[in-house]
């Protein structure tokens, strides 16, 4: 009787489900966070009586056989890359991407990571960096004596310098796009890395075809929908309880068998 093993797979799957949901809820205010969702699939079936096999010499065919399943497994934990809500701020270096695309960030080990979190700052040399101090690629340096910085929808960074009428162009932001954004690997700190599943990045200026535009004084908060996460959490908890009930019942049945005289 495999009921206990089947129920164990059910409980393990619901545990993964609850872990994913609680990570989503914990990150519901994280800038640039993309919610995840666990997907399950049923396991292989045991054909105790194969459907379609011959039932008698006359050639009558068994219309439906006996297939007993093996339980459930987690097939994928999928990241949903929908647009998060836009929140306005007072920081001139807070930028949000409206549409598709990622910022490119230079990591300390020389590789490029990608992110949607546009809460940027200036370091001591005036280079635009993330809160961790990693510069945005292509590297843009704002002049030290700039009084204000403007970033327009196509990613052009302009700095107004005291005494000059026209602002100077400090640089041009570039966005990177992937064929399959859910295939990116999350490395924490709001960063994503390229993988064979995501495809190679194509870069262009914001506002080009297929790329989103930049909005200054805005951050993109997480795309977690709290109401749907809480309802998923409740149904995951109930499913976990039902599976534990199955374990208990299978145990009672085997206990009855053990007490056979």
């Amino acid at each position: 009787m495999k009921a206990m093993a089947i129920a164990a797979t059910g409980m393990a799957a619901q545990e993964t489900n609850v872990n994913v949901i609680s990570n989503n809820i914990a990150n519901s205010s994280t800038t640039g966070f993309k919610a995840q969702r666990a997907e399950f699939q049923d396991l292989l079936y045991e054909n105790i009586r194969r459907p379609g096999s011959d039932a008698s010499d006359a050639g009558t065919i068994v219309p439906t056989g006996i297939q007993i399943g093996g339980g459930v497994r987690t097939a994928a934990v999928y990241r949903m890359h929908g647009q998060g809500d836009l929140k306005t701020t007072d920081n001139p270096l807070d930028i949000a991407i409206v549409g598709r695309g990622f910022f490119q960030i230079q990591m300390p080990d020389g590789t490029t990571s990608y992110t949607r979190a546009g809460s940027l700052q200036l370091n001591a040399q005036g280079v635009i960096v993330t809160p961790d101090g990693n510069p945005v690629l292509p590297q843009i340096t704002v002049p030290i004596d700039a009084t204000s910085v403007t970033i327009n929808a196509s990613g052009q960074v302009e700095a107004s310098i005291d005494g000059q009428v026209t602002p100077t162009v400090a640089g041009q932001l570039q966005l990177a796009n992937f064929v399959n954004p859910p295939g990116l690997e999350a490395t924490g700190d709001n960063m994503f890395k390229e993988t064979p599943a995501s495809g190679s990045p194509t870069t262009a200026a914001p506002g080009s075809t297929g790329f989103g535009s930049i909005r200054q004084f805005t951050v993109e908060s997480s795309n977690v929908n709290i109401v749907s996460q809480i309802t998923d959490l409740i149904s995951a908890q109930r499913a976990y309880e039902m599976n534990s009930r199955t374990v208990k019942t299978a145990d009672e049945m085997m206990q009855a068998l053990n007490q056979l005289k």
């Binding site: 699939q41 292989l44 056989g65 007993i68 399943g69 949903m80």
Partner: protein
């Protein structure tokens, strides 16, 4: 061996498989595209003594509950839910065509639409639907037509079957069409983009079935115990050498 013991054994055997099936349903109560299973029992009658037939029980077959599962909105452009009797066609790793209701679709780096396992979802023409470069707004119409900003890209193959009960579950959300071919007419099925069809397992029903199975099992085992007592008594009483 005495008939009551063997009849009770047939009961316990069938009930243990029914318990496995109920446990599988409960374990898959959150699996997208899962169809609950139910069991059919049948009596096998033998008449060793004329006029006194004995009925053994046999679990004849499992069948799929074809009721539609609840449709859950996710907002993902590549998630599809099917309402109606149709299935999506997928080519599995061995090259065979399998059918599924689990519409949590994804895109490969080369643009082809695949399911959660990476197997391509087939279009009407027989190969996978490939999204060309640069298309970001994918719309899937009610009949499965996939289109982008530049027009129609392809059409998802929706298969309806003359005998939906004849589909065999093969694991991973797939069904095999043993000896059946799709009717070719998918007009009774609608594709809903941005939603998923959740498992159609009814928890109340499965929990009650589980209680029933547990009590029936205990009753059957009770018969075996009573039989044991009866035979022991018979041997003791009848075998007494006075």
């Amino acid at each position: 061996m005495e008939s009551p013991l063997l009849i009770a054994l047939s009961g316990a055997d069938a009930l243990s498989r029914r318990m496995d099936m109920v446990a599988n349903n409960i374990a898959n109560s959150n699996t997208v595209g899962y169809r609950a299973q139910d069991m059919l029992f049948e009596t096998q009658t033998i008449t060793p003594t004329p006029g006194q037939p004995l009925d053994f029980v046999v679990d004849r077959s499992t069948y799929n509950d074809l009721a539609a599962g609840p449709v859950q909105q996710t907002g993902n452009p590549l998630d599809v839910a099917l309402t109606g009797p149709g299935y999506l066609s997928v080519k599995d790793a061995t090259g065979a065509t399998v059918y599924t209701r689990a519409g949590a679709l994804k895109m490969n780096p080369d643009g082809s639409i695949v399911d959660a396992l990476g197997n391509p979802v087939l279009s009407d023409g027989g190969d996978a639907v490939t999204i060309p470069d640069g298309i970001s707004n994918i719309a899937i119409a009610g009949d499965g037509t996939v289109s982008g900003e530049k027009g129609v890209i392809g059409k998802l193959a929706i298969a309806e079957f003359p005998n939906p009960q004849g589909l065999v579950p093969a694991g991973n959300g797939y069904f095999k069409a043993d000896k059946q071919t799709p009717t070719g007419d998918a007009s009774n099925t609608r594709v809903i983009q941005g939603s998923l069809e959740n498992s159609n397992v009814q928890p109340v029903r499965e929990m009650t079935q589980m209680l029933e199975v547990s009590r029936q099992y205990q009753a059957v085992v009770n018969i075996m115990n009573q039989e044991h007592d009866r035979i022991t008594n018979a041997i003791k009483t009848l075998g007494k050498v006075s």
